[in-house]
Symmetry: D2
Subunit: 272 residues, 4 copies
């Protein structure tokens, strides 16, 4: 079609390809979620439905992009890991980052009613995104360990903080003062003694966050192989997760997963 004399402005665009052979991580973070969670009266310290909505939105990203081999979420953030050999959008940073962020953001609004049937969405929330490259498998695992360790640190604090408020009737300031300077074992102790809560009995989704993995499974009744995305709430810092899902770091194709129980929660990838 005809071109205008203004076309020259395209030459101002710049290339922003990710370095080859590096893991690509896209992390989304809720923008102004302090205000969003209080406007929508999310439960404290964790709102299970809100976390499940995050997971559903993240699954929508994985349904769209096969090269996102794993995702990890906690609170109002989600990290997406692209295979180090991906050629998605010629590895252009802005394309990869913006597409993932847009699918996630639109899905969060789209699926809101599925998880909050009784609660109206008052305004559209939003997320910002960043992209980071990790050259080695160890760097990637350390990135994910960093996020999961962060989940633990924040959730233990928040559980103790809200426990002191809701069960002991402390004010925010008083709760803050009690916890100030305490180490993990002390927070566990406070939770147990003051609130009667054994932290280890808290829901895994709160303590561990959610890791989304891909599985190839038999889904009754059809018995044909299906590609699904499963939310797990397990440790990803130690080796055992990485041994069980060794295809991720090894860049291998999925093989039939025989441990899959169709009663598990999962998201079916339609266009597999």
């Amino acid at each position: 079609m005809a071109k205008s004399k203004y076309e020259y402005v395209r030459t101002f665009e710049f290339e922003d390809r990710c370095l080859q052979n590096c893991w690509i991580v896209v992390r989304l973070d809720g923008r102004s979620f302090h205000r969003f969670t209080s406007s929508h009266k999310f439960e404290k310290p964790n709102d299970k439905r809100a976390l499940e909505l995050m997971n559903r939105s993240a699954a929508a990203v994985m349904e769209e992009f096969r090269d996102v081999s794993l995702a990890y979420g906690q609170s109002d953030e989600y990290s997406f890991i692209l295979r180090k050999n991906t050629d998605l959008y010629n590895r252009r940073q802005s394309k990869i980052m913006s597409a993932i962020n847009s699918i996630f953001s639109a899905s969060y609004v789209y699926y809101w009613n599925t998880f909050f049937e009784d609660k109206k969405l008052l305004y559209p929330p939003s997320f910002d995104a960043r992209i980071v490259l990790y050259p080695t498998d160890q760097n990637l695992r350390d990135y994910l360990s960093w996020r999961q360790a962060d989940t633990h640190i924040n959730n233990l604090y928040n559980t103790a903080f809200w426990g002191l408020i809701s069960m002991k009737g402390l004010s925010n300031n008083e709760a803050e003062k009690v916890l100030s300077g305490t180490v993990s074992s002390e927070k566990n102790e406070i939770l147990f003694k003051e609130c009667g809560t054994n932290y280890n009995n808290e829901l895994p989704i709160y303590r561990k966050g959610t890791v989304l993995v891909r599985k190839l499974v038999n889904l009754p009744p059809s018995k044909s192989k299906k590609h699904v995305i499963c939310p797990l709430h397990v440790d990803i810092i130690g080796d055992s997760f990485w041994e069980e899902y060794n295809e991720i770091l090894n860049l291998k194709d999925l093989i039939l997963n025989k441990n899959f129980k169709p009663d598990d929660i999962f998201y079916l990838v339609k266009r597999s």
Copy 2:
């Protein structure tokens, strides 16, 4: 709060600040909108409600970011212009681009029902984003002229193409053949002779796209000054638009706009 030994992975993040004293343009494009528009049976060649939904979503971006001084949209794309002296997010590209894209994407789903009361959103659409810098006012105007010239070129073609199909009963292939190699004046001629359509009578929103500008106005009954965002469907290639809205290129504050009629369509900026 405590930090883990994995914290070092943060050093892999990189700085991506926009060069100072350049206009920053963020352009969003609908991803796979061919499929999206046909799934949702958008009207051809233009769906007025869909365009208004785009405009509403873009206004949501402008409500959030004061430094977006103008936005221009057509079809499934929208460009946002940030003041050349903006310090939003320290001019970090990924932050600026992802926040704008996320607000727009979430708003598109959120406001869907406002514009398509009778039509269910079948799945969440998404947009990709890019960021481009323009050093001079002329470069910026040429960018916007490029997009509006593109609107004209595409819309004239599409209007003639769908006119030949709907009014003359041609097949897609036949219509394509008739228009192949024609210049603008010939397409105008075909439209007029074959379809009885005077292209200049087509709606300005189709022919010119939409430019969103900010205004400071008196809104009855309160008479207090309010900050609003107004959709215009005017030429932005010539000088007159830029003279009327000279505060944009001059980086000036808004002054009270006395030509504003409260019957105009506008979006009220709540937190002005």
Copy 3:
């Protein structure tokens, strides 16, 4: 010619083009020149021959690259200004920066003997380089003003410092203490009263640094037009320099310069 299977490593190279329509500045700085100047017993506070060697090396850069329209040097640094519309090396940063730096560094060693006939070069000196973009003429002028203001600030201080040492017999520490916290007028006063030196009588090359400009001139006896590079020691902060050499900011071709006196110092561009 044949290619090896290792060729894929080329895909790891990245594009680093300078934004269009911006002035490109490459600034070189002497590496470890404190050690270099003391090893080679440069005169304090200024060594005229060393400055002339810097100028000669910078002229070599301008002889090679027509799009370097101006250069400014002081002490052990030199800035090269490339026309904002240059297409040199497709505006690739690393190519532009490294070629300029290499020509300058090699020339500095090559021309050493021309300026220091009696002094042996003990080891090869080196320079680092950076590249900076300036979108507007005002930004560019401010950059050059910054460097010339720096020349003034440093040279006034150094002249007073070394004057107190050489003429008044102060130690380094004593001289430092005398000058500590003084403003320009006070340093001028100290120089005049203590050392009998009127700072304004210092050589312009010391007070103003050197700006290299291009001229098109008649060189006797041939009378044919020649392209030369002339070192000036003039103010470049005010407007008059930019009016006289208006072709620089206006991106114009050189016109015959009738004020040129063949007795002036100049470098002939051979391949004009």
Copy 4:
């Protein structure tokens, strides 16, 4: 010291840090060396003194930067490998690249007379530079294999080409035609049959290029440990080189090298 109002222009500089945990390769290439070699009548197809001058200049770079753990050169190009964990200049690309290029360029001129006692340097040569990142050891080895395979391909061709000209009296065009489309074994055959040359008897420096490695050695008579840089002309594509110099990929300190014979050519690192 005082600052001027123009200081703001510094904010236009941008950060250009190399991604952490990647091998950093800086490759220099002679600019217009076709002209340079013919002006200086370098021997064809290889000029041994010119190669030794390249090696000497590269050694100067390694003397300066401890984190350059290996360098590889051929013809008019040289690659410098920085340890993947280097923190040199905070991994800033422009600093690393420009410093290496400047030292090399200045050294080439400085040491010219050492290698070409009877030949005057007619003008200063120059080199351009680029920087490339390699995330894994394998990528790095493949990069070096690429360069050494290139050495082989070029040198075999050039040896045959100049052999046909100097020994068989062919013209450039005729020699080119004879070699056109031949594979390696055919070029070997032509060399042997037509020129009586067994390619494998050509000097290793021509066939393999030069790899510069660091060694810690006993240098008589002092017997104290000295840090030296040794030029080798060996295969670096296979594993044996990397096993012998395993400290390079393993980022280990040097241990005393007992195979070193002081008669070998080496460059002593003074400031070890």
